[in-house]
Symmetry: C2
Subunit: 128 residues, 2 copies
C-alpha cells in the first residue's frame, strides 16, 4: 500500500508551449480553473510562484539560456489567447524570444499619491 | 506590549514603478536580495506568487483596468535593468501598457522530446 506523497506538482502543471518563441519556452499553470490571475486563490498562486525558480533553472540547463522572461497575460487586449491562467517562461537568445516595447513615462507625485490611496483602500477592502 | 503579527507582506514589498507604462504600473519584489528568479528561494517565490492575485485586484480597482500583464525579466538581454528580482503588474488600456512582439513558431516532436528529457533530468538533479 502506498500513500499519496504530496509534491510541489499537486497544484500545478508545467509543459512546453506548442508555439514557442524560443527553445525551451515553457508554460506553468495552476490546476485550479480560473481565466485570470486576479481570480486565482492565494494557495494556487503561491504554488505557481514556488515552482518558478526550479523550473527556470531547468529551462536554463536544458537550453543553455542565461537570460529569460516570465510573462503572464490577462485579457485579450493584453495578448491572452487561452483563457486559463498560465505563466510563460521564455528564454532569450539574441533576437529570439519575447519582444518587448517599453514606452515608459514619468510618474507624477500627485498621481502616485492618488493611486496609492486607492490601492490601499482596495487592499483593505479586498473580498468585502 | 505588541507582538509581531506575521503578514503577507513580511517577505515582499510592493510599490509603484517610477517609470510607468500605464497608470497603476506596480512592482512586487521579494525582500530576499537576488538578482534573478532562478536564484530565489522557494519560500520567497511562493510569497510573491501568493500576493499577486490581491495586488492585481487592487490595481484593477484603483485604475479601472480589466486587462493587464505580469512580467518578470531576467538578464540585460531580456530587458532587466534593476538587478533585484521584480514582477511588473502592467495595466493595459488600448495602446497604453506593455507592447509585446510574439514571433511564435511550431514545436517539432523530436525537439519537444529532447527538451523534455533534458528538463526532467535538470529537475531530478536540481541543487545536486
Amino acid at each position: 500500500m502506498s500513500e499519496h506523497q504530496p509534491t510541489i506538482f499537486d497544484k500545478i502543471l508545467a509543459f512546453l508551449d506548442i508555439g514557442p518563441l524560443a527553445d525551451g519556452h515553457t508554460l506553468v499553470i495552476p490546476k485550479e480553473r480560473k481565466a485570470h490571475l486576479h481570480q486565482l486563490s492565494d494557495e494556487s498562486a503561491a504554488a505557481v510562484g514556488r515552482v518558478l525558480p526550479r523550473l527556470c533553472r531547468a529551462v536554463m540547463r536544458a537550453t543553455g539560456a542565461t537570460d529569460y522572461n516570465v510573462l503572464q497575460n490577462n485579457g485579450a487586449a493584453a495578448h491572452q489567447v487561452v483563457m486559463h491562467v498560465h505563466f510563460h517562461i521564455i528564454p532569450k537568445f539574441g533576437d529570439e524570444g519575447l519582444g518587448v516595447h517599453w514606452p515608459a513615462r514619468k510618474l507624477a507625485d500627485a498621481d502616485a499619491r492618488d493611486l496609492l490611496a486607492r490601492m490601499r483602500q482596495a487592499l483593505d477592502t479586498d473580498g468585502k
